[in-house]
């Protein structure tokens, strides 16, 4: 039996140093470290993220719980309870996500800044990453989602019809069957296979202002011609490190998002998930205007150590857990 860890001692030290640097960064900025439950009564409704389900056997029957896929909902309940700026470093789980850049169990850093714009939060993400990645070249790229699609394909992703996107996928991606793909998944395919590979390696790229089909829990802004989602993603080279929002604080819209996501689950023939009523109740009380972001720390550690596979930076990845 191969019981031994996949990491070198140097990688283990790099992880400890990274965690130390992150905690020092937030201590200095007066952002409070918090904990929230890993096992919740409610799951993530996002149709593209599967929670791992856990069953607790009880004498009066069994109780279904979900391992959290991110601490987003309970951290927003803390915001609604006037916690102020908060961060959390926690293990999260996403069913079925295995590969060179994915382990179903991974470490996520998530933080919320009250009163921040998402632009200001992007700056802070850059500041944090340049501390944990000291060799990072200065001057990240900032690109709107729209400019990436316009420059590469002359397609405006905010108004493109699914037919236009399907034509683009057929022309540029080998053998992808577009049957059953919605607007979001078509855009994901084009971004993942045609646009991300051209991101400058070893540089940070921030992509911001997403189509509303990609909004998740981000606030929507009306522009002159169409609405855009105030969401951003940060990449190092071609590796996606994190995802952030100008948080949607309108309680009605939050309720609508969760129910729309469950509807999308039905459309994809996926099991629906119990919507987080506690989060929705907190939203009704009022979540303060804030921006939040989540960063995959194992991916960051891959960048620090230069390892090509996430399996080499986790002591005991999925197959050895």
């Amino acid at each position: 039996m191969d019981w031994s860890p996949n990491t070198t001692q140097q990688t283990r030290k790099s992880r400890a140093q990274m965690l130390h640097d992150i905690r020092a960064f937030f201590l200095q900025r007066d952002v409070l470290e918090v904990e929230t439950p890993a096992l919740s009564q409610f799951g993530n409704t996002d149709p593209f993220i599967e929670s791992i389900q856990c069953i607790q056997q009880k004498s009066e029957g069994s109780e279904l719980r979900y391992l959290h896929t991110s601490p987003e909902y309970p951290m927003k309940r803390l915001l609604a309870a006037d916690s102020g700026d908060i961060y959390q470093i926690s293990k999260v789980w996403r069913a079925g996500e295995s590969g060179n850049k994915h382990n179903p169990e991974f470490t996520l850093l998530e933080w919320y800044r009250v009163g921040f714009s998402y632009q200001k939060l992007m700056q802070e993400v850059e500041e944090l990453l340049s501390i944990v990645l000291p060799d990072l070249p200065k001057k990240p790229q900032f690109k709107t989602y729209e400019s990436l699609f316009l420059e590469k394909f002359n397609i405006n992703p905010h108004i493109a019809t699914n037919e236009q996107l399907i034509d683009c996928v057929r022309e540029h991606i080998d053998h992808l069957d577009t049957e059953g793909m919605n607007n979001q998944s078509l855009l994901d395919a084009i971004l993942s296979f045609c646009i991300e590979p051209e991101f400058e390696s070893s540089h940070l790229t921030f992509v911001y202002d997403y189509p509303v089909s990609q909004s998740a829990l981000a606030q929507i802004r009306q522009t002159e011609h169409y609405p855009v989602a105030e969401r951003f993603e940060v990449y190092l080279g071609q590796s996606e490190l994190g995802n952030g929002y100008q948080e949607e604080v309108d309680s009605k819209r939050n309720k609508q998002i969760l129910s729309d996501e469950n509807q999308a689950r039905k459309d994809f023939n996926l099991e629906t998930v119990k919507e987080d009523r506690l989060f929705l109740a907190a939203a009704e009380k009022g979540i303060p205007a804030s921006a939040g972001v989540a960063i995959g720390l194992d991916r960051v550690l891959m960048c620090i150590t230069g390892e090509k596979s996430i399996q080499k930076v986790i002591n005991f990845p999925w197959d050895k857990a």
């Binding site: 593209f48 996500e97 590969g99 991606i173 992808l176 059953g180 793909m181 395919a189 296979f193 996606e240």
Partner: protein
Amino acid sequence: MATVSTSEFKSGLKFILDGDPYTIVENEFVKPGKGQAFSRVKIRNLKTGRVVDKTFKSGEKVEAADVMEVDMEYLYEDGEFWHFMEPTSFEQHAAEETAVMDVKHWLKPQEKYIVTLWNGSPLSATPPNFIELQITECDPGVAGNTAQGATKPATVETGAQIKVPLFVEEGEMVKIDTRTGEYLSRAKDS
């Protein structure tokens, strides 16, 4: 009909695409944090040997291929078929020319080959990496000429044309790398 889902994709898995059997050479899981998951695979067509890239949405299903790789002994050729035998069961399989096209010149009776069976019929045969064969034709050796790198053409018992050092004689057994067709050494027992 048995199907396999992308979640079971790994290198070596065989499936049918557009009527042809393929094996997965490389499988990469691609997924934005908040979005659609894909499997990007490099697959080899088991009939033609061509490697191509394909992209699947996670959860897509493909038809499983009834493909097996079996160790077999090569027996003989009858002008139409090339005959192999499973050494444990003595079961014989007849391969068509298309299946042995690439390896015809490395087929030596009693030697072991890996034969890929699709629905029970031979699809391809893979020779061992190293094989010992007799030289059946070459110019006479030049005694004392050990000049580095100097070679001459030679034909071996299976019909393959190779290059051998000048000192090698007709009738000798030589060791050959079948992947490159290169002469390696004189066989030890000759």
